[in-house]
C-alpha cells in the first residue's frame, strides 16, 4: 500500500512538473541567462519587477521560466493528510525567497482535495493544506499579510480521473501570484 502511494506521489509529482509549462505563457524572450544560475540565485536577480502587477515586467520573468524552480507551483499531499513532504521544501523555499525579495508581490495559496467525501469537509482539508504551506513560508520570513490561503476543496481537480493516480494529482496546493 505504502509503495503504491509513494509511486502515485512520484507520478503525480512528475505529471505536475510536466504540466507546469502549460499553465502560463512563457514570455522570457530577452532571457539569455543560464537557467541553472537563475535558479540558484533565486528571484533576487529579477530586481524590482513583479509578476502580473501592472503588467510592466521587462526581461525574464523567473516565475514563468520553465527552467526556474519558481515555475513549479504545486505541492502534493497524501490522502487525508496536510503534511508537506520533504521533496517540496525546495519549491516552497524558492517562493519564500522570491516573496522576501519582491515586496510588492502577493500570493494566493489555493488548497485542493480529491473528490472523495464531503465537499464542505474537503474545503476545510484544502484550507489546512494551504495553511501548512503558508506556515512554512512565514517561518522562512515571508510576511503573513502578503499570503492569502484559500481552498477550492474538491471543486477544481487537476486530473478528472477517478483512480488513485488522479486523486494524487488533485490533493495539492497551487501557488498563484496576484495578477496571474
Amino acid at each position: 500500500m505504502k509503495k503504491i502511494v509513494f509511486a502515485a506521489l512520484v507520478a503525480a509529482f512528475l505529471v505536475g512538473c510536466a504540466s507546469t509549462p502549460t499553465e502560463a505563457p512563457v514570455e522570457d524572450k530577452s532571457s539569455s541567462a543560464d537557467p541553472a544560475a537563475t535558479a540558484s540565485t533565486g528571484a533576487s536577480t529579477s530586481g524590482t519587477t513583479t509578476a502580473g502587477i501592472g503588467g510592466t515586467a521587462t526581461g525574464a520573468n523567473p516565475l514563468k521560466d520553465p527552467n526556474n524552480i519558481l515555475s513549479k507551483r504545486s505541492i502534493y499531499f497524501e490522502f487525508d493528510s496536510f503534511a508537506v513532504s520533504d521533496q517540496y521544501k525546495p519549491v516552497i523555499e524558492a517562493h519564500a525567497k522570491y516573496l522576501a525579495a519582491n515586496r510588492n508581490a502577493r500570493v494566493a495559496l489555493q488548497g485542493h482535495a480529491d473528490e472523495r467525501g464531503s465537499r464542505e469537509y474537503n474545503i476545510a482539508l484544502g484550507q489546512k493544506r494551504a495553511d501548512a504551506v503558508k506556515r512554512m513560508m512565514t517561518l522562512l520570513g515571508v510576511q503573513e499579510t502578503i499570503v492569502e490561503t484559500v481552498s477550492f476543496g474538491e471543486e477544481k481537480p487537476k486530473n478528472l480521473g477517478h483512480d488513485e493516480a488522479s486523486w494524487a494529482e488533485n490533493r495539492r496546493v497551487d501557488i498563484v501570484y496576484a495578477g496571474e
Binding site: 465537499r119 469537509y121 484550507q127 495553511d131 481552498s151
Partner: protein
C-alpha cells in the same frame, strides 16, 4: 389495513404522468420499496378532462412516488363517485382498497375553478377529509400537491412534503447552476448561473432566501439570495475561505465556516453578514455546522480527535460533546426535525454511505450502500433524506426513507446533479 408489497423492477412513476418532460427536469424513480403500503383508489375528478392539467393524475403520482401507497384501479367502478356520499365502501373493499379519493373541478364565471375533493376510509366507513379550493388554472399543480399532502397526513399520520421545494446544483460542461424545483422535480427555475463552482445551498426557514457558496471570486464566498427578487448579498467575504452556511431556526442568524483568523473555524453572524462572532477556538478543522431545531446547539464536523467526527456544541455553555465513534470518517451531520437524531455521511472501507444516529441510544443505522453518497438533506417531515450519489464523476440525486426501506432516484437527463437541499414547509 396494510398490505405488503415490493417493487422488484424500477418503477417509472412518471410514465403515467404526461407533463413531466420539461428540459433538465428531474424525474423520480422508485428503486426499492419494502414493507407496508396503503391500498388507495384515486378516482379521476369529475370535469377535470376539460383542463390540460387535471388534479387526480398529479395526486396519484405524488402518492405513488412516496412508496407509502399502492394504487388500486378505479376503472371498473361505474358510475364514478364524485362526492364522499357517492362512495360505496363495500364495493371498494371488494377491489382491495382501504381508502378512496374522489373530487370534481367546476369552472366559475370569473375564470377560476372550484376544486373539491374528499378522502373516504372505506374500512371504517368514514370521511377523513373534504376540502374545497377555489383556484386559477396556474395553481392546479400546487392544489394537487396540497391534496396529496392532506391524504398523506390523514393516512400515515405524518405531514406530507409534496408542496415543498428542493434546491440543487447542476454542472454541465463549465457551467454551474443553482436550481429550485417542486419536490416532484417539476417547474425547475434557475436561481444562479456561474462559470465557477457553486456549493452548499441552504434554505432560510421561511423559504424566501437561499444561502450558498460561490467560487466566482476565485475563492469561496457565502451569498444570501432573495428568491422573489433575485437580489443577493455577499454575507461572508472575509480574507481566506468562507463556506458552509447554516440558518438558525428563526432565520435571523447564519453559522458559517471562516478562515480569517487561521484554520477553518465556526462563526455565527447576523443573516445580513454583520457581527460575525467566533463560537469556539480549536486548533483543528471545525466546519459543517447545522443548528439543532431548538437553536440551542449546533452539530458540526471536526478533526480535533485525529479523524473527522461529528460533535455537538452547546451554544449556551460552550460544552462540546463528541457524537460519533464508529469508524474514522463521519461527517456532514444534519439534525432530524424532531431533534431526536441526525443523518450523516460515514465512510466504510472506501464507501461513503448515508447513516442516521439516535441521540439517546447512540444507535447507528446505515441507510444507503454508497459508494459515493454525500450531502444529505432531510425533508421537513423527517421521513425522507435527499442526498447526492456520485458515481464515476457524474452525480445524481437520490432519496431514502429515514427507516432505510424506501429508495428513490431523481434523474436529470445529461447533467451532473449534486448538493440537494430540501426546502421548508413555508412557501411564500
Amino acid at each position: 389495513m396494510h398490505r405488503s408489497f415490493r417493487l422488484v423492477a424500477v418503477l417509472l412513476a412518471f410514465l403515467a404522468f404526461p407533463f413531466a418532460a420539461a428540459r433538465a427536469q428531474l424525474t423520480i424513480e422508485i428503486v426499492g420499496g419494502a414493507g407496508t403500503a396503503i391500498p388507495i383508489a384515486i378516482v379521476p375528478f369529475a370535469g377535470e378532462s376539460a383542463f390540460p392539467l387535471g388534479i387526480s393524475g398529479v395526486v396519484a403520482a405524488d402518492l405513488n412516488r412516496s412508496a407509502m401507497f399502492k394504487m388500486v384501479s378505479p376503472d371498473a367502478v361505474v358510475p364514478r363517485p364524485v362526492k364522499a356520499d357517492d362512495v360505496q365502501p363495500d364495493a371498494w373493499r371488494a377491489r382491495g382498497a382501504d381508502a378512496v379519493v374522489v373530487g370534481s373541478m367546476q369552472p366559475l364565471p370569473d375564470g377560476r375553478v372550484e376544486v373539491r375533493f374528499a378522502l373516504v376510509d372505506v374500512v371504517k366507513k368514514t370521511t377523513l377529509a373534504a376540502v374545497t379550493y377555489t383556484v386559477a388554472p396556474p395553481q392546479f399543480r400546487a392544489t394537487a400537491h396540497k391534496i396529496a399532502d392532506v391524504i398523506y397526513e390523514k393516512l400515515t399520520g405524518d405531514p406530507g412534503v409534496f408542496s415543498t421545494r428542493i434546491a440543487y446544483i447542476t454542472k454541465s460542461g463549465p457551467r454551474y447552476q443553482l436550481l429550485v424545483a417542486d419536490a416532484d422535480g417539476s417547474d425547475p427555475q434557475t436561481i444562479v448561473t456561474s462559470n465557477e463552482p457553486l456549493l452548499s445551498p441552504r434554505w432560510a426557514p421561511d423559504g424566501t432566501r437561499i444561502a450558498y457558496v460561490s467560487f466566482e471570486a476565485k475563492k469561496p464566498v457565502v451569498y444570501v439570495q432573495n428568491l422573489a427578487t433575485g437580489g443577493r448579498q455577499a454575507v461572508a467575504n472575509f480574507r481566506g475561505s468562507n463556506s458552509s452556511p447554516a440558518w438558525s431556526p428563526d432565520g435571523r442568524r447564519l453559522a458559517v465556516t471562516l478562515t480569517k483568523d487561521g484554520g477553518s473555524q465556526l462563526y455565527i453572524m447576523n443573516a445580513d453578514g454583520s457581527n460575525a462572532q467566533r463560537v469556539m477556538t480549536s486548533g483543528a478543522i471545525d466546519t459543517e455546522a447545522h443548528f439543532m431545531p431548538d437553536g440551542q446547539s449546533i452539530l458540526f464536523t471536526s478533526d480535533r480527535g485525529g479523524s473527522p467526527q461529528v460533535y455537538r456544541l452547546n451554544l449556551g455553555s460552550g460544552a462540546v460533546e463528541r457524537l460519533t465513534f464508529d469508524g474514522t470518517y463521519n461527517v456532514s451531520p444534519r439534525p432530524f426535525p424532531d431533534g431526536k437524531g441526525f443523518a450523516f455521511v460515514r465512510r466504510d472501507g472506501g464507501r461513503f454511505q448515508i447513516a442516521s444516529q439516535d441521540f439517546a441510544s447512540r444507535q447507528v443505522q446505515v441507510l444507503t450502500n454508497g459508494p459515493g453518497d454525500e450531502s444529505p438533506s432531510i425533508a421537513p417531515n423527517g421521513k425522507l433524506i435527499l442526498y447526492a450519489n456520485e458515481v464515476g464523476g457524474r452525480g445524481i440525486l437520490a432519496a431514502v426513507s429515514s427507516d432505510g426501506r424506501i429508495k428513490q432516484r431523481l434523474v436529470a437527463p445529461a447533467s451532473d446533479v449534486r448538493e440537494p437541499a430540501w426546502g421548508p414547509y413555508a412557501r411564500p
